[in-house]
Each structure stands twice: as C-alpha cells, then as structure tokens.
Amino acid sequence: MNERVEKRSMGLKASRALSNTIIYILLIIMSVIWLIPFVCIVLQSFRVESTWQVGYVIPQQWGFDNYIKLWETNFPKWYLNTFIIALVVAVVQTIIVLCMSYTLSRFRFKMRAGLMRFMLILGMFPGMLAMIILYRVLDDLGMTGNNSLPGLILVYVASSGMGYYVSKGFFDTIPKSLDEAARVDGATRAQVLNKIILPLAKPIVIYTILTAFMGPWGDFVFARYVSQLKPLGMNVAVGLQSWLATDTMTFNNYTLFCAGGVIVALPVAILFMCLQRYYVEGVTGGAVKG
C-alpha cells in the first residue's frame, strides 16, 4: 500500500517535471520566433555595406550611416507629424471617450439604449467608406496633402466617441452607490465625475491615453487617404511604406526603412512597456465586458 502511494507520488512528480520541461522548451522556441524579426530589424539597421535585402542577418560592416541618412530624407517631418498628431489625439480622444463612456455607464436617459444600438449598427460599416467623402471635404478645406495635420487630427478624433466599450465596462465596475452617496453629500453630477469617479478610474484613463497615443503611430489607411502620398503630409506608417512600395525602392531603401522602423518603435515601445500594466487591465476588462 505504502509502496504504491510512493510510486504514484513519484510518478506525479516525474510527470510534472516532464511537462514543465516540455513547456519550457515550447516557450523558448516561441520566444525565439517572436524575437527574431525585432533582432533582425535592429541588426540590419546598422548594416552599411548594402541598402538592399540580403540573405544574412549579421552586418559585415557596422555603422550609423542609415540613421544619419534618415535626417536627409523627409523622415523627420513624418516623425514630427505623427508625434504632434499622437499628442493631440491622446488628449482630445481621451476626453471624448471618457465623456461618452461615463455617460452611458451612469445616466439612464430616454435615448440611451437606442443610442447604443445605433452606434453598434454604425460600427458595422467599414470606416474606410466615410473616408472617400471626408477626403473631398477636407480637400475643399485645404486640410489634405502636404497640409494633412489638422485633417488627420479631425478624422482620428471626430468619431472616437464610438470606442466607448472598454472604458464603459470599467466604469460599470465602480459601484453606483458611490455616485449616490456623493450626490446625497451635496455633489453635482459634474463634481461626482471630477472628485469621485475620475480619481478611481485612473487605470482606464491611462489605458485610454495610451491607446489613443499609439493609434496614430500605426495608422495606415486614414493617413494614406488624407496625405495622398504628398511628401510632407505623410505619417511614419505611410512614409515608411512608401519606401518599400516597389522593388526598386526596396532595393534602395531597405536598410533605411529598418533604421526608421527602429526609431519609430523605440519610444513607443518603451512607453508601452512602462504602462503595460494598465494596458493589460484594459484589454482583459474590455474582452470580458464586450
């Protein structure tokens, strides 16, 4: 009897160790796959001997040439464009999203359900569809092409109220009795928002700012429409893509693209990694809340 128990527990331990080893091996393989592209892009950005794609990873000649060359292109302008847009969008979009989600979470007004259903249906139309006309209108207002900055900001910010789901889900988890207590204590609805809800909603505020800030760095479609590939109006995504648009261009610009990519990714990634706790909270909460 005792022997069997011992045997079993030995088996249990052994199998656990085995499964852990397998898991470690799997995870190590995964990590390598996940990291390879990033390692490669960094290494190739330091390659000096050629500007085109090659079949090896380690540069034969190292140097900062690509980074220096970036300064002579329109890249700094694209970078500045994107940075300004991202800053403005981060502020305005956050305000709009918070207004929307707080209202839908806390107020029960007549049109509430209808409004939410309407936005749900509206969201089923591809957003790109609206761009066709928005481009013409913005063009009339002179906000496209090389002067795309205000146009792009408008486009990003204007409809951001529709992305209220995640933060509404968070607000829903803050007990309503806190609002009620504060209202009995003499707070107006605006004071409830400022003094009670916002301090408690710090994680979701940071999440909203973070995603709003990162959005413009990765947007391709809208920037492509509004900038119409004019050299000074592009953001980094459209700009860097334009360097690889054809085979000849790829031949000339490949390592330059790598360097640009690194410059774009670095600050964004660092910011993201610092605030990832909030991001994770928002993403998981958002998925659960729908």
Partner: protein
C-alpha cells in the same frame, strides 16, 4: 415536432439529445424570422400611432394654449421668452434664424433650398466650352457640382429633420410650461437651466461634443456614401471638372451581381473575395483564440517561474507599431529575403520559395503571420479570464475525478467561451475588416487573373475591405462600386452579428455584465 418536457429530455440518450437540440434550433428559425417581421410591423405601427399622437398634441396645444403659446408656433421660443425663460427661448429663436438663413439666403453659391431642389437631378449644367467673342476663343465653363449638390442636399435634409424636431420641442416646451404654471409652480430660470447642465442634465453636456463628431464625421458620410451607391460617381464622372454624375438606381448592385458585364464577371470576383474574407476571418479568429488560450495556460502553469519574462517577450509585438512588424516580416519572406536566404544557406531548398507569389501559400502565410501578431493579445485576455475562474471549480472537479484534459474541456473552455462570446464576435468582424495585416503583408496579391477587368487589381488575399481601398485609390476610382462593396460588408457583418446574437445568451443583455 414533438416537444419534450425537461424530465423527458433528460431521459433521452446522448445522440437523441443532440438531435433534439438541433431540430428545435431549426424549428425555431421560422418563428424567429416571423418574430423579426412582426417586430418590424410593430415598430411601424408604433411609429404611425406615435406620429398621429404628436399631431394631435400639436393641434390641442395650439387650440388650448394662450397667446404666448400660439405665437410660438411661427416664432420659436417666443413663449419661453415671454414666460421668463430667456435662455431657452433665445436658443430656439437663434436656431430658427440660422435655419431660415441657411435655407433662403445664398451663402457661398446657393441657398439650402436650391441645393435641395437640385438633389433629384444632381445638377443639370455640366462643364462645357463657351465661345468668347471678344477673345475669339472657346474656354471651359463649369456648371453645377454634383458632389456638392449631393453633399449639401444631404446636409439640408439633416437640417430640416433637426428643425422639425426642434420646432416640436418648442411646442412641447410651451405645453409643459403652461402645465407647470397652471399647477401653481414656478418655471426654471435660465440660471437653473445652466446649473442643471452640470447636474441632472450633465449627460447632455457630456454627450454634445462626442455625438456632434459622430454625426458629422460618421453618420453623414455614411448616408452620403450609401447614396453614392445609387449614382455613377467615379473618376470619370467627378461631378464638376470632367462630367456630372447622376442617379442610376439599382444599376451598380446589378453590376456587382451579374456574371457578364461587357465580358467582366463581377459576381464571381465578389464571391471569390467574400469567401476568402470569411475563411480568413474564421481562421484568423479561431487559430488566435485557441492558441492564445494554450499559450496563456502554458505561461500560467503552476511551477513556471519566468511568467513575467515570457509575457514581456510576447507583449513586444503589441508595443511595436504594427505596420513596422508587418512590413518587415513581409519582406523577410520575400524571394530575396532573410528566410529564403537562411533556407538556402542551410541547404534546405535550392531555389527560393515564392511565399507571396503562390495563391495558396500566400493565404496560408497571412494566417500564420496573423497568429504571430495575434497570440499576444489573446494571451493577455485569456490570462485575465483564467485568473478569474473560481479555483473551487477545479478543486471540486478534481475530487469528482477529472483529469487535466477533462478539466480543460469541461470547465476552462466553456467558461472562456461564455465570457468571451461577445469578444469572439467583435474579433470575427474585426478580422473581416483587418486591412492592415493583409495590405501591409501582401497588398492583396498575388493578382487574380480571373478578376481582371473589375475595378481595382483584385488579388488572392484581398479582403472586401482591401478591395474597397484599391477601388478608391487605383487608377480608375469607381466610387460607386466602392460604396456598393461597403454596403455589402455592412450587410454581411450585420447578418453574422444577428445570428450570433440570437445564439449567444451572454451577448444579449448588456446589464448582465454589470
């Protein structure tokens, strides 16, 4: 179909239970459809009754109202001003003034009424050459602008609806004020009105800006684009400088669904792109979903000491702007890219593999690379949910004798599916419209020769959304076709959502999650 009671159902064998469920699902479809139509019928009935009631109330308010109320019918806000609610009254009056100025005073080239009158034709006088006797030359003259007519026509319609609504509000306001005064209470002052905008009416303040943005930048453009689907607006008919465009009725939809339009088969192309879009969305959603759960479980397994490190490595793909990783990975797999280089130097292949040039391979590659992009998100989400599964569920199942696999299939998976049902739906429709992954990886390629002649250069990995993009940015910009595709995307998404909503209990009730 025979209906079983609960106890009878429980006594059925496993197979019969399944058959019974299947049968009752299909049996419920006609009823569901009937209910849908009944609901639509009820809606219109309610609408009719509602409108009737509104009219009756408008009339009775007028006949029973005092002179202040009566004067408010032509002069909006008069009653409010006369009763001391100056702020409200002035706002009404201001709105009325703006409306009439817009409608009847030409600002720019035309009045609102003129725009509206041109809407049915979208313009009569196109660009043409005129003879100038003094200079003795022909020079171009531009007439109407179809684009602007459609745009301002829609705007005017919106404005008129808003005006009617506001006017109704103005009438109602008079009735309410009269009722309040009659019951001997005081009306709210302008100060009260302002104060209430940060208190009980705070939601109006909060919603004003977001909703304005949505109406102007989403609703109106979508209405406009839906209308474009019924015109011949394209690069060759841009409505101003080369040629006017005009209404063509259902012509564009007919084109999209016909097998032969001047030798071009639109229907087949649409079918091909739609089916790939659905296949893509299915695989992109579910491969990520299950692999994400799997990875999350590996990382969170008891005894794994480097949880944080694994997670950080994966999160890196989220942290780095997607277009960089997508563009880079796409080039890694190109003919002269790193992967082919590595394969050849390891002597695994002799000739480079054309990952993006062969239709099947390209399709498989986008799905695989999408897994690389998507797993980190799903890992995060799954981790969050796994942590929330009550531990006693696992403990009690272990006492009941479940092994790890059974625990996964009987507890973890049902729990995950239930919680993430809504997420799966949005993720599916999101993947249908996943422009970035497809466009930045393959640009839609490789080109599908069977689709040549249709708008844009349709490729084997093109989704409806990338096709739409190509139609509007290519050499010939068939905007009308783009809006047809856009409307069809909406239809497909709406149908899928409706089906899922009716099947999933957890999506239905928003309050259930609170």
């Amino acid at each position: 179909m025979k209906k079983y009671s609960d106890l009878e159902f429980l006594a059925l064998s496993k197979g019969k239970k399944f058959l019974y469920k299947l049968a009752s699902f299909f049996a419920s479809i006609p009823r569901g459809v009937a209910n849908l139509f009944l609901a639509i019928g009820r809606f219109f009935k309610k609408l009719g009754i509602g409108i009737g009631k509104e009219f009756a109330e408008i009339v009775t308010t007028f006949t029973r109202g005092d002179w202040k109320t009566k004067l408010s019918y032509p002069v909006m806000g008069f009653g409010s001003i006369a009763r001391g609610q100056v702020l409200r009254g002035l706002l009404f009056l201001l709105f009325e003034a703006v409306f009439f100025v817009y409608m009847f005073v030409p600002i720019g080239s035309k009045t609102g009424a003129q725009w509206l009158s041109l809407l049915p034709t979208l313009g009569k006088v196109g660009p043409h050459m005129e003879y100038n006797a003094v200079l003795d030359t022909h020079y171009p003259v531009y007439g109407d602008n179809s684009f602007k007519i459609l745009l301002y026509g829609v705007l005017t319609l919106f404005f008129i609806v808003a005006f009617i609504y506001t006017w109704r509000l103005n009438v109602k306001q008079n009735k309410i004020s009269e009722d309040i005064l009659r019951s001997g209470k005081k009306l709210k002052s302008s100060g009260d009105d302002l104060r209430s905008l940060v208190d009980e009416q705070f939601y109006k303040t909060l919603l004003a800006l977001p909703l304005l943005g949505i109406v102007v930048f989403t609703v109106m453009p979508i209405v406009f684009m839906i209308l474009v689907a019924f015109t011949n607006y394209d690069g060759a008919h841009n409505g101003y400088s080369n040629s006017l465009f005009t209404w063509v009725g259902m012509e564009n939809f007919k084109t999209m669904f016909s097998w032969d339009v001047g030798g071009v088969n639109y229907a087949a192309t649409f079918g091909e792109v739609l089916s790939w879009t659905l296949i893509w969305a299915f695989f992109a959603t579910f491969t990520n979903y299950f692999l994400g759960i799997f990875v999350a479980m590996m990382i969170n397994k008891k005894g794994n000491h480097l949880k944080k490190m694994w997670r950080t490595i994966l999160i890196l793909t989220i942290a780095i702007p997607q277009f960089i990783s997508l563009l880079y990975v796409s080039r890694m797999f190109s003919i002269n890219g790193l992967v082919n280089g590595a394969l050849q130097s390891l002597h695994l292949t002799t000739a480079p593999i054309d990952f993006w040039g062969t239709p099947k391979l390209a399709r498989i590659m986008v799905i695989i690379i999408n897994i690389w992009i998507g797993i980190p998100y799903l890992m995060l989400i799954a981790t969050g949910i796994l942590m929330n599964i009550p531990a006693d569920l696992y403990e009690s199942s272990r006492i009941d004798g479940a092994n790890p696999w059974q625990q996964f299939t009987k507890i973890t998976l049902p729990y995950m599916l239930f919680i993430t049902g809504p997420y799966l739906l949005t993720s599916f429709t999101g993947n249908m419209n996943n422009f970035n992954v497809i466009y930045l990886l393959t640009g839609g390629g490789p080109t599908n020769p069977a689709a040549s002649g249709t708008a844009g250069t349709v490729g084997y990995t093109d989704l409806l959304i990338t096709w739409l993009f190509k139609i509007t940015t290519g050499s010939e910009t068939k905007y009308y076709l783009a809006s047809v595709v856009g409307i069809l995307v909406f239809v497909v998404v709406a149908i899928i959502s409706l089906i899922v909503y009716s099947l999933l209990p957890s999506v239905k009730n928003e309050e259930d999650f609170q």
